[in-house]
């Protein structure tokens, strides 16, 4: 049984997991859907009540029925590198590939339906509340007056994109940013705006969940840090990430979140305040983990490999050499 990894070639973070799977003798096929019709090919037939499908990349061939699990890591758009790419061809290739993969009994990390839903931040906030995670007071609105009233109730606010996406024309980044007092909220009318009470934080927490296993890391906010540097991704901090125990109540809530979201993997961001409370900020269903593993030594790649290699009932995979074959 083979593990299928959908990701780009340059995704060196995926290499960490491929290495672990190789060490365990678990067959792996790695491909980028962007290479469909060039370096990647697929075929499936539905005849006499039976469905057979195959995928090939380079000189590897794998049967759809032989897939143990699918790791949707950082795949490109299907057929994006075809000889004559088009939106139509991408849709055709996407339907063919993911449609066939949905016919298999393979486990998904994460299933595309769950992944798509899990990207919606408003939905994340509600699920976090229902799961028992503390969520900072948040408003998402296109009403300027609602924003003004919210800022009166919570004078220290940050603003961040609802989607997490960044504008590309021209390319810009939109970090989580503090909103100054007496800000004019008139432009809220021109786009949904996410305002959130700023958590005065002592540390950032990145909690990486792999199946039932939780790996939490803590990055201390330096005492002389500029309070306007809210977004750790844009912060000049040189503090390392250190492993930290997950409080039992947080662990219970995170498991509830993952169950509610139907996710096998999630990278949670929290802000830790002076009372030691971990405030939920977001959960990225395909968040990076390599930087945490390198700082903390936490075996996240190994945990992912074990999850991908195990049977649906959680039993470890039997060892076996990687096989190659030709069409």
């Amino acid at each position: 049984m083979t593990v299928l990894i959908l990701t780009s070639e340059e995704d060196v973070t995926a290499d960490l997991v491929v290495l672990r799977l190789n060490e365990a003798g678990v067959p792996v096929v790695r491909l980028d859907p962007a290479d469909l019709t060039t370096r990647v090919a697929l075929s499936g037939e539905y005849v006499q009540g039976i469905c057979h499908g195959h995928l090939s990349v380079a000189d590897r061939l794998v049967s759809m029925s032989g897939l143990r699990s699918v790791w949707v890591r950082r795949p490109g758009l299907p057929a994006a590198r075809a000889a004559q790419p088009s939106a139509w061809l991408t849709e055709e290739a996407s339907q063919a590939l993911y449609g066939m993969l949905r016919c298999t009994d393979a486990r998904w990390m994460n299933h595309p339906d769950a992944a798509r839903r899990a990207r919606h931040k408003p939905w994340q906030l509600r699920l976090a509340q229902r799961s028992g995670l503390p969520v900072p007071a948040t408003l998402i609105t296109t009403f300027p007056q609602a924003a003004r009233e919210f800022s009166e109730r919570f004078p220290d606010l940050v603003v961040k994109p609802v989607s997490g996406a960044h504008p590309q024309e021209p390319p810009r980044a939109v970090p989580t940013s503090r909103v100054a007092p007496d800000t004019d909220f008139a432009a809220v009318a021109f786009g949904p705006t996410l305002l959130q009470r700023r958590v005065p934080k002592l540390a950032d927490i990145r909690l990486t969940a792999v199946g039932d296993r939780l790996f939490a890391a803590r990055k201390t906010v330096e005492p002389d840090a500029d309070p306007d540097d809210v977004d750790v991704r844009f912060s000049p901090s040189l503090s390392p990430w250190n492993p930290v125990e997950v409080p039992p109540r947080v662990a219970t809530a995170v498991h509830a979140y993952l169950s509610g979201a139907e996710l096998a993997y999630g990278a949670f961001d929290f802000a830790e305040d002076a009372d030691g409370i971990w405030w939920f900020l977001e959960c990225n269903q395909s968040g990076q983990f390599g930087f945490v593993e390198m700082d903390t030594g936490q075996p996240i790649a190994d945990a992912i490999a074990r999850w991908l290699a195990s049977a649906p009932d959680g039993t470890p995979a039997p060892s076996g050499g990687t096989r190659r074959s030709a069409l």
């Binding site: 997490g164 980044a173 970090p175 991704r233 395909s286 930087f291 593993e293």
Partner: protein, 63 residues
Amino acid sequence: MQPFTLNYARPAVHLEVTTPYMYDSGLQLNVLPDGRIAATDHATLRALGTTTSTAGSKTHFDD
């Protein structure tokens, strides 16, 4: 008419990182010029920031 959130946008930093490794389709891994597996060279990975949560990826907004 610019949305409020874009008042906080800043120019994207284009990190034209030239990765010193290349994908080996036989190994299904990225390999350094001296033949070592790139993922085992943490010093290089740290320097490149290729495993880091960066935000603003053009193709992926999960960090």
